[in-house]
């Protein structure tokens, strides 16, 4: 690629973004929707598990904790392959007909970011002053109200966990490619490289903007934590 080509492609990429190219916007919207839903699901089941790990003492707690910590770094392509085998026509969940649908990506990404959300959320909950439970109780709270008080104290950390989960979901390629085909930002960036590199670049710019914005938001929330 020549230097002149580079500037031309960059210019074309910005033109696509600024003129509201349909492919660019539809892909972006679908990505946000898929990753957002996946993160929400992972958050909904991840936070109660994190609370259990952080607040209760039980046998095998350390094992479960280290397992989730290890799963944070699972290669997305490995998880993608496993999910592909489960969802493919001849697989055990093949009858659902989910392979190559946005739903498949949502499920895959939700599974992918669950360990990350559990790890970050349980650390955030563990960082709360343990006396908050005693405090809530002596002020009249029941067990569950006391746990809610602790979660509320961890709110900033939980928000950061959610944002980090979203970041991982929107920027991963392996799962989306294996079970979704070519639908979202990352997979399109990869797929268009040899056909329409300006489209690839415009999607890359958007992806980077989203990731940067999410990181800045996480940074602001962390700083607010006093």
């Amino acid at each position: 690629m020549h230097m002149a080509d580079f500037w031309q492609i960059l210019g074309e990429a910005f033109r696509l973004i600024l003129t509201g190219d349909r492919t660019v916007y539809q892909t972006t919207l679908l990505s946000l929707l898929v990753s957002g839903t996946a993160t929400l699901l992972a958050f909904l089941w991840g936070v109660p598990i994190a609370a259990l790990i952080a607040l209760k003492s039980f046998r095998g707690k350390l094992l479960i904790k280290s397992m989730f910590n290890a799963l944070v770094g699972i290669p997305t392509v490995a998880l993608g392959l496993i999910l592909y085998m489960l969802l493919s026509r001849s697989g055990p969940l093949g009858f659902l007909g989910l392979l190559y649908t946005p739903t498949a990506i949502i499920i895959g990404e939700a599974v992918l970011v669950t360990p990350l959300i559990i790890s970050l959320a349980s650390s955030a909950i563990e960082a709360v002053d343990p006396e908050i439970i005693s405090l809530a109780k002596t002020l009249g709270a029941s067990e569950s109200q006391a746990s809610t008080a602790v979660l509320r104290e961890a709110a900033n950390g939980l928000m950061v966990a959610g944002i980090m989960g979203f970041n991982r979901a929107i920027s991963e390629l392996g799962v989306a490619l294996m079970v979704g085909g070519n639908m979202v930002l990352t997979t399109r960036i990869a797929a268009q490289i040899n056909y329409d590199i300006a489209l690839s670049l415009s999607l890359t710019i958007i992806l980077l903007l989203v990731v940067f914005a999410a990181n800045i938001l996480a940074y602001i929330i962390r700083r607010r934590k006093a």
Partner: protein, 353 residues
């Protein structure tokens, strides 16, 4: 007098370690009872049991004659509330902190705001409602904690070292508020302290605690007359010393604390006595200075504990003394471990117990 809580041979251990042993005690409705004892004597654990937050490992507990069980404990918890030694605040405004217990109890909004206002008034924090609670000074945070408990008007109020490590102004406000709710609402107050002077001034009854047991219970007068005999075991209490007193002038005694270490007290006393000097009453200086204080000693700092808005120093002047100064003076004086300092206190600051 009605008995509000009764403990019958209560013990408590945490993973094999005994925190309380064979505690039998009756608490009377409307009284102020103080647990006096050194750190680690079990005061906090006993308060947590009385607050229904901790379960006794052994023994029985009765509330107004009814046995406390696992089933009714959560319900009884609302009859009592405890203020912890270190202020524990929710990451919210002062208003939301004070309102928390009332919201949990399902009070209507108007009633909550009235109760919050009244409670903040008692601790002189009117107008603080919207401030973030954790941004307040240590003394103010402790006052918010107290207001949060007072707002609930529980039958039983449990206070763990409510004024330790506080500036004198906050300490006075808190002591005032405690006495007020005791008189006005008839709340029964149980308080832990290692400050002998506080234990002598405020309560109706004092329980001396040591190593997880109650050694003596009685009126301050009864207990402090025994204290001189059992005091050896209370050496861990700050600035509590035993000596031989001799009247040397008009209303003045010289007390020999051993090893030829003598202090002057503005009171007539003869024979064996226990004395107490409040850590806030001791003046600390880098240099030798002239003052009206009759007791002046030179020594070195052997221990520094940061308590938030104040700093507690251990100064060895031949006898160890605990001195409490504000954090600001501590920083301005550039004090370090092993710094050479002078301590001074008035003869009238020496309390003969």
């Amino acid at each position: 007098m009605n008995c509000i809580v009764e403990l019958d041979n209560v013990s408590k251990s945490f993973s094999g370690l005994t925190a309380l042993q064979g505690i039998s005690l009756r608490i009377w409705e409307g009284e102020i009872l103080t647990f006096l004892g050194p750190n680690g004597s079990g005061k906090t654990t006993l308060l947590k049991i009385l607050a229904f937050i901790e379960k006794p490992s052994e023994g029985s507990m009765y509330y107004r004659g009814g046995k406390v069980t696992d089933e009714n404990m959560a319900w009884l918890r609302r009859k009592a509330t405890m203020v912890f030694q270190r202020p524990v605040l929710l990451n919210a405004t002062v208003y939301d902190n004070v309102a928390y217990g009332l919201k949990i109890r399902g009070f209507p909004k108007g009633e909550i705001s009235r109760a919050v206002k009244e409670a903040l008034g008692l601790v002189h924090l009117e107008g603080y409602e919207k401030r973030p609670a954790r941004k307040l000074s240590g003394g103010e945070q402790q006052r918010v904690s107290l207001a949060r408990a007072l707002a609930l008007k529980t039958e039983l109020l449990l206070l763990d070292e409510p004024t330790a490590s506080l500036d004198p102004k906050s300490a006075a406000i808190i002591e005032d508020a405690i006495v007020t709710v005791n008189r006005k609402h008839g709340s029964t107050i149980v308080m832990a302290t290692h400050n002998v002077f506080q234990a002598k001034a405020m309560p109706n009854r004092v329980a001396l605690m040591e190593a997880g047991r109650i050694r003596e219970v009685g009126t301050p007068h009864e207990v402090f007359s025994v204290l001189s005999k059992t005091l050896v075991s209370f050496a861990a209490l700050d600035n509590t010393l035993i000596g031989e007193a001799k009247v040397v002038g008009d209303g003045v005694s010289l007390i020999d604390l051993g090893n030829n270490f003598k202090i002057v007290a503005a009171k007539k006393a003869e024979g064996k006595v226990s004395v107490f000097i409040s850590p806030e009453d001791i003046i600390l200086s880098r240099t030798r200075f002239e003052s009206s204080a009759r007791n002046l000693f030179k020594g070195r700092i052997t221990e520094i504990s940061d308590m938030g808005s104040v700093v507690r120093l251990r100064v060895d002047v031949g006898k160890p003394f605990t001195v409490q100064i504000t954090k600001r003076s501590f920083e301005e004086m550039k004090l370090n471990l092993n710094s050479e300092v002078y301590i001074a206190f008035k003869a009238s600051s020496v309390h003969i117990l």
